[in-house]
Amino acid sequence: MNWSSWLLWGFLANVILTMINAATQGLGLTRMNFPYMLGTIFTPDRDRARLYGFFVHVGIGWAFSLIYVLIFQSVGAAGWWRGAIIGIVHAFFVLLVFMALLPGLHPRMASEQHGPEAQNMLEPPGFLALHYGGRTPIAVILSHAIFGAIFGAFYHLK
């Protein structure tokens, strides 16, 4: 395994993923702000949540890219299209599994069964995170596919 290549391109691909996420939100493709969603696990302060969430998101993505590396190493080849395919699978995992688990993980998030409570809560993502906008799955799949493609293109097997 090429550690230095993973560290460099895993980080850069993550930075680009974060940028694409911000762009999809700014362009109105989705309302989902991933750093904000993750950051509010730690603090209700909106500004700090975005900051904390940014680092958490980059950290998780970096760790996740290790799985990409393991797959590249096991098949003995990397490349942009292999990365993109893994990225799409990654996106479906986020949409179908992670989003469904999130209300259970997130201390400030309501679940679909939550009734009016004496505490302000965050809206749950719903199936495929559709609560955050009808085109949210497209945004998530697109951003992760680009992430995978960049990482696959630039990661060098040893």
Partner: protein, 684 residues
């Protein structure tokens, strides 16, 4: 006995009887508790008043789609959170709401078209009387319904939170909170939530109700409606009818976000949020330093002004609405949800005079930084973030307020050339410097750049303060403001607060402008200054010659000008048209207050000024708000609402009255350089 028609007539003549003391005796004391945050039941009206309102309620409302809609601009009150605002009618209907900003497309616009615009009403089913007020020193609105069977109080607000609180708790981006409390007997109430985004252009799909509430996706944003009772969805509308008994309380929360996950507010915490918001507003109002006889109306105007301030940037919007007509049924309908630089000096004067230094600093910072892209040229109006206001377009699908078409969004004045704004901006900075000290080097360069621009362009014709769409001319007021700009820059230089001023150029140009105004704007035949060089028309802005210190208010010329203005522009006591127009539009709110200030600045007319001021106060609506204009025949509000310029004028007039009572120098005298050498004083 009164029948409906005579009651209505009595209401109009009685309530508009210009008897200040009486109107306040009726409308205020039992409505503004001084000690507690919220009274549980403050409804205690004298019987005659009760009857009048009853007649009004049943008479003036139009019913459309199960909702009462108003026929008067005065019937509205505003709620807001310093980022956006909504208009609530006295029939409990939110008829105007734009989120996330003042100038965003509306989701409720029933005020402009009761069928297509969308609304959110909470209103008793049976005939009822209405009384409403803001909770003392706050922007939390209480509407009290009284029917034969019972009483209920509707509380409307956009919650506001201290920044420290927001760091410790999740708070929605934008929220309207409504609480309906049955205070005695029983009350059957109908609720209708009919969102129609994008000025009624789009229909919406209200998502299936869940325990979390109703969700409506609109473009890049999502609305959530949470309620403590179930709502039925039918025809893109959520409805319910319910009977409340004494002690029953229901809550509704409408939120908007463009960033998910959205915060879903807890309805059980609503009373706490309402009390917190009231406290926040009351603490803000308590900072007001005005201690004169008009304290309540000044604070109300300050609260209205605060609602029009866009907190993230410090900008102040001219009004929260578009296309409320300056003449009913006519086409004088404009979009005022932007920030006009011409309001600058009066806004700063009002904020500094009342002791709101933070707000004044934010506004001035916005003023200097928002205009950076176009400096040294200034545009007439900007958005709250300093972008050039959008192009004007018409919305033909909306019928307009009382069929006053067209409804417009964007503003065509964006491309106009108005020289007066340079003077306004520089006067604002001079006043700020008088209170709070000097400027950094960049700001000094910007100010000098404005001065140099004025020195180069002052001779050019311009559109002028009233933004006519008939072309450019040599406006006296514009020249006055060019004179003001250079005079204040020289004064700042004299005081060591502005360095690098080209003194010779500015002094020479300023004196030349004075000479031009004194010769070309003076009409010997009329014995008055006139609105344009060589003209014979009057204009209320001529009163500003004394306010800015160009002339002494008691000078022979200003005495003649004031008389001529009263003769030609005053339709009724104290009211003033801005200029003559056929057919006439309404009397311009701020011009009346300019008249008051002018009287106050004269040496022997202070009592007259107080009288005029009190008279103008009778034109506020029942919750103390003014629109842009007043119909002199009926006393009804005309134009966009509530209007910052009118409220700023009220505050400025109250401050001037207080200053003159104390024998204090007028701010323009303090910040000017050439003002002492006015003809009157020169003669003396």
């Amino acid at each position: 006995m009164f029948d409906g028609e005579s009651l209505l007539a009595y209401f109009d003549s009685s309530l508009r009887s210009r008897v200040f003391a009486a109107s306040h005796l009726w409308l205020r004391p039992d409505c503004q508790p001084q000690s507690s945050l919220r009274p549980k039941d403050t409804f205690a009206l004298p019987a005659p008043f009760f009857g009048i309102v009853w007649a009004t309620t049943t008479h003036l409302c139009r019913v459309s789609s199960g909702k009462a809609s108003t026929s008067k601009i005065d019937d509205y009150a505003v709620i807001g959170d310093c980022r956006s605002a909504a208009l609530v009618s006295k029939y409990g209907s939110i008829d105007w709401l734009c989120w996330p900003r003042f100038d965003s497309p509306s989701i409720f616009a029933a005020i402009l078209d009761s069928n297509k615009g969308g609304h959110w009403s909470i209103c008793p089913v049976h005939p009822h009387a209405v009384k409403r007020c803001y909770i003392h020193d706050s922007n939390v609105l209480e509407t009290q319904f009284h029917s034969a069977a019972g009483r209920a109080t509707l509380t409307d607000l956009m919650p506001v939170y201290a920044e420290a609180y927001k760091r410790t708790a999740l708070t929605p981006d934008h929220e309207i909170l409504r609480e309906l409390r049955c205070t005695s007997g029983e009350m059957q109430v109908a609720i209708e939530f009919r969102p129609r985004p994008d000025y009624g252009c789009r229909s919406v799909k209200i998502r299936r109700p869940s325990p979390l509430g109703l969700r409506i996706d609109v473009g890049r944003g999502a609305y959530w409606l949470r309620s403590s009772m179930p709502l039925q969805i039918d025809d893109h509308t959520a409805r319910a009818t319910l009977s409340l008994k004494q002690g029953d309380v229901i809550h509704f929360s409408l939120t908007y976000t463009e960033e998910s996950p959205a915060v879903l507010p807890a309805l059980k915490r609503a009373p706490e949020v309402i009390d917190g918001s009231i406290r926040w507003w009351q603490e803000w109002a308590a900072r007001c330093r005005y201690r004169g006889p008009y304290r309540d109306v000044v604070v109300r105007s300050a609260l209205a002004l605060k609602l029009l301030a866009y907190a993230p940037s410090g900008a102040v919007a001219a009004a929260v609405t578009t296309s409320l007509p300056e003449r009913i049924g006519a086409n004088l309908n404009w979009d005022y949800r932007y920030c006009w630089l011409r309001d600058a000096s009066l806004t700063i004067r009002a904020l500094l005079g009342l002791g709101y230094f933070g707000e004044a600093e934010s506004f001035l910072t916005w003023l200097l930084h928002a205009t950076r892209l176009t400096q040294p040229q200034l545009r007439v109006l900007y958005t709250v973030f300093g972008q050039i206001a959008p192009r004007e377009k018409e919305l033909p699908h909306l019928s307009g307020f009382l069929d006053s078409r067209p409804v417009r969004v964007g503003n065509g004045a964006r491309g106009q050339f108005q020289l007066d704004i340079y003077g306004e901006v520089i006067e604002a900075t001079a006043q700020y410097a008088e209170y709070l000290g000097g400027f950094d080097k960049t700001t000094q360069r910007v100010l000098i750049g404005f001065g140099e621009y004025v020195a180069q362009h002052w001779q050019e014709p311009d559109e002028g303060i009233w933004e006519p769409r008939t072309g450019r001319t040599q406006n006296t007021h514009s020249k006055l403001m060019c004179w003001t700009a250079l005079d204040r820059l020289l004064a700042l230089n004299d005081k060591g607060r502005l360095h690098g001023v080209p003194r010779d150029l500015f002094t020479r140009t300023r004196d030349r402008i004075r000479e031009e105004i004194e010769t070309k704007a003076w009409n010997d035949g009329l014995h008055s200054y006139v609105s344009t060089f060589g003209g014979d028309e009057m204009d209320a802005t001529l009163l500003r010659l004394a306010w800015y210190g160009f002339e002494h208010a008691d000078s022979e010329r200003m005495t003649g000008t004031y008389k001529r203005i009263c003769q030609q522009l005053s339709p009724a006591d104290s009211l003033l048209y801005r200029y003559r127009r056929e057919p006439p539009e309404g009397a311009f709110g701020v011009c009346g207050f300019w008249g008051v200030e002018h009287l106050a600045l004269c040496e022997r007319t202070l009592d007259q000024a107080h009288k005029a001021f009190k008279h103008l106060l009778t034109y506020q609506n029942d919750v103390g708000l003014y629109a842009e204009e007043v119909d002199p025949q009926t006393g009804n509000a005309l134009g966009n609402f509530p209007q910052a310029f009118t409220h700023i004028g009220l505050i400025s007039a109250a401050l001037t009255l207080a200053e003159q009572e104390r024998g204090q120098e007028h701010p323009a005298i303090q910040v000017g350089s050439d003002v002492k050498s006015s003809p009157m004083e020169a003669k003396a």
